[in-house]
Each structure stands twice: as C-alpha cells, then as structure tokens.
C-alpha cells in the first residue's frame, strides 16, 4: 500500500483525528456539554409524519426549544449510540443558562428501534414521549418517494412493497437466512411497511415506560386542531397555554415538490394490510384515527 492509501485508511478509521472534520462550534459545544440540558421530551415516532411541522408549532412557545441547530433530531439512541458519547448528545442542546425551560428533539426512528427503549431508560428515565402517527398507507408511500428521489430505490412502489412482504415472510419461515442486525430496521428504504406497524413497535416501549409518559396524536388531526393539540402538549410539559399561528406544512417531498398519487388498487391492498395493525394500535392507546380511506 502506498503512503497516500495508508494516510487515507488512517483518517477513515480515526475520524476524530481527521483535521477536515474539525469544527470550532462543535468543539465548543462538546467542551461545554456538562452545562447543557438533556432533553425533557422526545418525539419518537414516526418518520414521514410531519415532525418538522410539529417542531415549528412547539418552537412558537417562548420557553420551548425543540430540534437542534441542523436537524429535527439527533438520532443518538438508535444510530450513533455505540459510536458517540453522552457528552456528544448533550452538545446538541441549549445551555442551562438559556431562556428555554423545556428542551426536546424529534428522532422519528426511535419508535422502531428494538434497543432504543432500554437505552433511553438508562439515560432519561423521566423523559416525556410524543408519538405523531400518520395513516400508515400514506406514510409508506411518502417514505418510498423520499427514497426514490434520493436514488436509494429504483424499483416501483408496488415492487418495493412486494419485496418487503417477501422478506418478512422469508425471515419468519426461514430464520437461518436472517441477518440479526437491530440497526437495519432504521433504514427508511427497507421498512416502508414495518415502520407502520405502530402497535407492535409501541408495545416494546410500554414494557419499559408507564403509559402516562406518552402522548399520541395523528398527523391528520394536527392539520385541523393544531391549537388544541399543541396546547395539550404545553400542559403536558407544565407550561402555560398560548395562542398559536397556523404554520404551513414543512419539508414536503424533500424540497422537490409533490409526487403522483398512489394507484387505487395498491391503496386498497395496503388499507387491508394495515387494518389489523391499526386496530391493535387503537386498543393499545384507547384512541381511534380515521385511517380506512
């Protein structure tokens, strides 16, 4: 191997020593992490459900800081838990001297990760959880279009769904061929359907946290009742209620516009597919959403 390849390999395997990754702001935040808040609430679910819009409503409250400087969430308890420290996680949040009393982040993939509840229990046992559920049919199609536009998926929506159903059946019938990698469920492009199995994902959380630490609502009701829903969250955080301004929906079609409608027969098939999962969720959270259309 040449000297150049050796240097390249060293920098790839030691990213913290890579001078091209150095950032003054990140270093300052890391050094002051002990003076920073840990989050008081987490929006754990779900991806493609309108987290950006919820954060824009929450941030209208003068005492709340939701999301981070660069993203809506940190994705610490699923993606970076094994490679990053708690100080690194804290470095994303405001300092204890700031005007904000309630801090939160929205990593919508925590809900699906099988190890996230235990990890959060150890670090943030009293944190409050918010679940934003979207009709799983629309959620799956939105996730597919996200992946397709980014070039992660080249097949049609129908083929992608069929391949996921095939994989689910193969892993169930023939566990020998399954790669037992808990992080794989986090990849948006492989779990269009499984990210919509809200009830089975939520059961993992209810085994570890009491139900009164959770608030659930749907993307569809947010559009019509944003004032009521957001104020119920402010009360949940023991903050005073305020009057909110209507916000436009955020982050639609990852900045590349809307996508074509789903085929009717695919929608019908998916409504049937998700029906038992939805019913299970409604009985689990004692709340019903109008998702049969």
């Amino acid at each position: 191997m040449s000297f150049k390849s050796n240097v390249r390999n060293f920098l790839v395997t030691h990213p913290s020593l890579n001078p091209y990754n150095f950032s003054l702001d990140e270093t300052f935040r890391l050094l002051t992490s002990s003076l920073r808040h840990l989050p008081h609430f987490l929006i754990i679910g779900t991806s493609k459900s309108g987290k950006h819009s919820v954060l824009s409503y929450l941030n209208q409250h003068p005492q709340i800081k939701a999301g981070t400087k660069h993203n809506v969430g940190v994705y610490y308890f699923d993606v970076t838990f094994q490679s990053k420290s708690l100080s690194w996680y804290k470095s994303h949040f405001p300092s204890k001297f700031s005007k904000f009393k309630i801090i939160g982040e929205a990593s919508g993939t925590y809900l699906n990760h099988p190890l996230a509840p235990q990890r959060i229990k150890k670090t943030l046992p009293h944190v409050k959880f918010i679940n934003l559920f979207r009709n799983p049919v629309d959620r799956a199609y939105s996730a597919y279009n996200h992946s397709f536009k980014l070039g992660w998926d080249h097949s049609t929506f129908d083929d992608s769904i069929k391949s996921e159903i095939n994989r689910i059946e193969m892993m169930r019938d023939n566990p020998e061929i399954k790669i037992d990698n808990p992080d794989a469920v986090n990849f948006l492009q492989f779990s269009y359907l499984r990210h919509g199995h809200y009830a089975s994902n939520l059961r993992n959380w209810f085994k570890i946290f009491p139900q009164n630490q959770f608030k659930h609502f749907s993307t569809e009701e947010l559009d019509n009742n944003y004032n009521e829903i957001m104020n119920s969250l402010f009360s949940f955080f023991n903050l005073k209620e305020i009057n909110l301004k209507k916000e436009e929906r955020k982050n639609i079609g990852i900045g590349k516009g809307k996508y074509p409608h789903m085929k009717e027969n695919t929608r019908d098939m998916l409504i049937d597919y998700f029906k038992p999962h939805n019913e299970e969720l409604f009985s689990l959270i004692n709340k019903k959403f109008d998702w049969d259309k």
Binding site: G151, W152, D153, H154, S155, D159, S160, K162, S163, N166, R167, M170, M171, P175, E176, I177, K178, I179, D180, N181, D183, A184, F187, Q189, F190
Partner: protein, 190 residues
Amino acid sequence: MKFNQIIKNNIKQHHFPSTKKFNSENNDEDNFRTWNPFQNGLSAAILCGLEIIPINKKSSLLYVGQLEPSVSLNLLDLVENNKKIFIYPKKPNQFSNKENLIQITNFNLIKNQKFSVIYIENLEYSYELITNITKSSLENLGYLIIKFSTLSQNPKIFFEKMSKQFELLQEINIESFSKNNFLIIFKSRN
C-alpha cells in the same frame, strides 16, 4: 443467523490478509474475521441494511467476477468450508487455486451443474450473459446476487428487464463504501 456469526471464523488471523482479531461479547476464545466493506460488496451491504443472506453451509455457489483473496475467505466462512465455490473470473486468479475454490474458464465445464446462489460481483457482463448463466446454472427458486454500478447500466431499464425473470428481494445502496454501486438480491421466479 446472528449478525456476528457471519463474520465468525475459527482459523487463526495471521494466515490471512485484511483480517483482524477482536473479542466477542461473551469473551470466549473465538477469532473473528472483519469483513472489509471497501473490498467486499456483501460486507458493505450488511452495514447498509441487508436483511437476508441466502448463502449458508447448504448453498452451492457460483461466483462470477474477479475474486479478492479476502472476499473468497468471507465466502468460505459463509459456506463454512462445507461446499466448493465455483469461480468464473474475468482474468485467471492465482489465489483461487485453493482447496474448495474451483476456478472455471468456460461455462461448458459446469453445464450439468445447478447452483442455489449465483453471485455476480460486478455487472460489466451483459444482460444476455446474465440470462444465459442463470438459465443454465441457477436452481429453481435459486438466488441471484448482483453488485451493480449505476454507471454501467441504467437502473430503471435493468430492473424492468430483470423483473421478467426474477423477483426483487432487496436493493441496497452501498455508495458509502463503493461509489455508484448497489447490491441487489433477486429470487428466481421458476
């Protein structure tokens, strides 16, 4: 199969290039082989979310493409040195003259043999050649694994052609390790 078991190896590390020893979580004495995702498309795919590996100790494998020494060891790990792996390289490869790795220079040599898995490491081969290989050598309901570069073919056209004969199982973008590359697993429809 456990995620860690696919990189498990009982042979001592210093016999092989690109390998590294580390302790397992249970602190037992096993040695492990690190798969190099920059060299091995399958290894990159695992890190990028591959959910199933249809290669195990019961699989008969035909590998089409240039085989890196470390990758051949990874494949032997998967078949647990239990089966012979047939290789059809673009150029003859010295390393493949090894027990359990059988190099072939012509497909006529394996005319009567059927494989449960065919792995095409780099799709510089034409669609027609892929069809011929799979028709003559892939078992019914066998698996086809292809490492595919978006520069060599238009993915949309490729998927349309392949979907006539195969069912897509998973498409994995491995660009983080291999620029413009995908790994795709198909299952034969017949």
